[in-house]
């Protein structure tokens, strides 16, 4: 390999030097929400970002999704610069944001219709995802008839349907009760294992981050910077509920928690 050419292949998702400043006004100082964040997500990886409130994690995710533009810096997916939103980056929001007038099946089909999939293919894909998410009995119901956990499953299915390159999850389980949240975590892991999706997830729950992610980025607050990048050594097969009682898991969780506590300012 002494004379070969080394091609640096781009990571699935690259975030370089993202800065987001909100201009001030009279009586209002300029606010720097995000101050120079770098991160990468490899293909098929599940990465979590944890940070206290005010670390700009939602802003960062919106920038990656193309919903907001950064003041400085660059986001690239498969080496292509992100300049706006698109179905290649599926997003899931804390508030589910399902279309309330559409049934579960119609919600899941929304992105496929936008991509111009033919009806038959659409129906197959929706049926497949309804099965994966265990929503068979609910396919023709509208969101207000569903529980919070159900709604978030629909949101995940809807984001998965167009087969995005990257899934961006913004505190997806933040509004769920503790029991439903645990079920949904295992469900997300299962979806991740079966689909091989590339997932970047924002959360403030450290245990959740360490349980799910292969790497955890810890952000500082006011402004948001990367305080640490923590690799999580557990194999995908080890990520079962019992792991949460494993001393090695608890140890790592406490380390990350301490990193985060250093950042909390009241």
């Amino acid at each position: 390999m002494s004379h070969g050419t080394v091609i640096l292949r781009p990571e699935k998702l690259e975030v370089h030097g993202i800065v987001k400043r909100f201009p001030g006004g009279r009586r209002r100082p300029e606010v720097t929400a995000v101050d120079g964040i770098d991160l990468t997500v490899r293909s098929g990886e599940l990465v979590c970002i944890v940070g206290a409130s005010g670390c700009g994690k939602s802003t960062l995710l919106n920038i990656i999704g193309g919903l907001e533009s950064p003041t400085e810096g660059l986001v690239a997916v498969d080496g292509e610069r992100v300049i706006g939103p698109g179905p290649d980056r599926g997003m899931i929001f804390q508030g589910y944001s399902l279309f309330p007038w559409k049934t579960v099946a119609q919600n899941i089909a929304f992105g496929l219709e936008e991509l111009g999939w033919p009806r038959e293919k659409r129906r197959e894909r929706v049926a497949e995802l309804v099965g994966v998410m265990g929503l068979e009995a609910w396919a023709d119901r509208i969101p207000k008839e569903l529980s919070g956990g159900m709604r978030q499953r629909v949101a995940i299915a809807r984001a998965l349907a167009p087969e995005p390159d990257v899934m961006l999850l913004d505190e997806p389980f933040g509004a769920l009760d503790a029991q439903t949240k645990r079920v949904m975590q295992d469900h997300l892991l299962e979806v991740w294992r079966t689909t091989g999706a590339t997932i970047l997830m924002v959360t403030h729950d450290v245990e959740e981050a360490v349980y799910l992610a292969s790497r955890v980025y810890v952000l500082t607050s006011h402004p948001g910077r990367v305080a640490a990048e923590v690799p999580v050594p557990f194999a995908p097969g080890d990520r079962v509920p019992a792991l949460k009682r494993d001393p090695a898991f608890l140890d790592l969780r406490d380390q990350v928690q301490d990193l985060l506590l250093d950042q909390v300012r009241l």
């Binding site: 939103p85 179905p87 944001s97 279309f99 309330p100 007038w101 936008e114 509208i142 207000k144 809807r158």
Partner: protein, 315 residues
């Protein structure tokens, strides 16, 4: 007297006040042959026990439902009160007002019917409203959605519309008759002018209330801006738009009446003006009641349409 609560604790009168206190030395599981034990819940003592909290009467609870029976009773009472007021004014000799009785009013309505003008007048007025208000709502939906969705459109249109909205449409009636003659055109134009500015601003408010997250979700699912307007903003706004139409319809009727009073050859308000000229108060009353009936029918139909077209938005 001692008694036992459901929890098993034996209670006795508190010697300090009127309350109950647990008895410390009582055998806590004493049976019928121990202390005198009675069921707290059914005892006379429980009924006489001190109370906590303020009870609220069913009819006076803020934002709570009432029973169907009460609801029906109150609705009927409201109608009876209105009818009673009418009867009182019609028969009360103390009144200087000339108020026709219900039967006289019915007679007036029948006279209009026999003259063959009643349904012609109703249709003339309803037709003007249908045309004018359809145009008004069409303009309002397009401009309102644009203004509610784009800050640029909002900045451009808001001041001129706010200005126009404060010119009373009734003040434009002479001008419109002068410009457009006394045909149907000035009346329909006046209905549009009299309602469109309110409709635009209220539809814009409805469109502004579409959650940003739904719009963002649509973007990340591959929808462009036009598609977001058509597939997210419009369907989410639909029930609100129907409500706006329902609320402002009264304004359209008000301006139509003014236009018909001044210049028309048929129509409900024209007929009222004519009845006044011939001092036929019974006919005037019949025509007023027809206005009310038409109003209630359209209001109920639009409510029904709203619930039918957007069951997801029903409370």
């Amino acid at each position: 007297m001692r008694l036992r609560r459901r929890t098993g604790r034996v209670m006795d009168r508190d010697d300090r006040g009127g309350g109950w206190a647990p008895v410390a030395d009582a055998p806590q599981d004493a049976g019928p042959d121990g202390d005198h034990v009675i069921d707290w819940r059914n005892s006379l003592a429980a009924k006489r026990a001190p109370t906590r909290g303020t009870p609220q009467h069913e009819l006076l609870r803020i934002r709570e439902d009432i029973s169907t029976r009460w609801r029906a009773t109150l609705i009927a009472t409201g109608l009876v009160l209105l009818a009673g007021l009418w009867l009182f004014m019609a028969t009360g000799s103390s009144s200087d007002l000339l108020v026709p009785s219900p039967s006289e009013t019915w007679g007036g309505a029948m006279r209009l019917y026999d003259d063959g003008v009643l349904f012609g007048d109703i249709w003339a007025s309803v037709r003007r409203i249908l045309f004018g208000y359809a145009i008004s709502m069409a303009i309002a939906v397009v401009l309102g959605i644009l203004m509610g969705s784009f800050r640029s459109a909002d900045s451009l249109f808001e001041s001129p519309i706010a200005f126009m909205r404060y010119i009373p449409a009734t003040a434009l009636v002479p001008l419109m008759l002068f410009w457009l003659g006394i045909d149907e055109l000035p009346k329909i134009t006046l209905i549009v002018i009299g309602s469109v500015f309110f409709n635009i601003l209220m539809v814009a408010d409805v469109a502004r209330n579409v959650p940003k997250e739904l719009i963002n979700a649509a973007y990340t699912l591959g929808a462009g801006r036009l598609k977001v307007l058509r597939r997210v903003v419009l369907p989410h706004s639909l029930p609100g738009i129907i409500d706006v139409a329902r609320i402002n319809l009264a304004a359209a009727w008000a301006i139509l009446v003014v236009a018909e009073l001044l210049a028309a050859e048929e129509g409900l308000a024209f007929r009222i003006a004519r009845a006044q000229r011939f001092r036929q108060i019974d006919e005037m009353f019949a025509l007023l009641i027809i206005f009310g009936i038409i109003g209630i029918i359209t209001d109920l139909s639009l409510r029904w349409l709203r619930n039918r077209s957007a069951p997801w938005a029903r409370a």
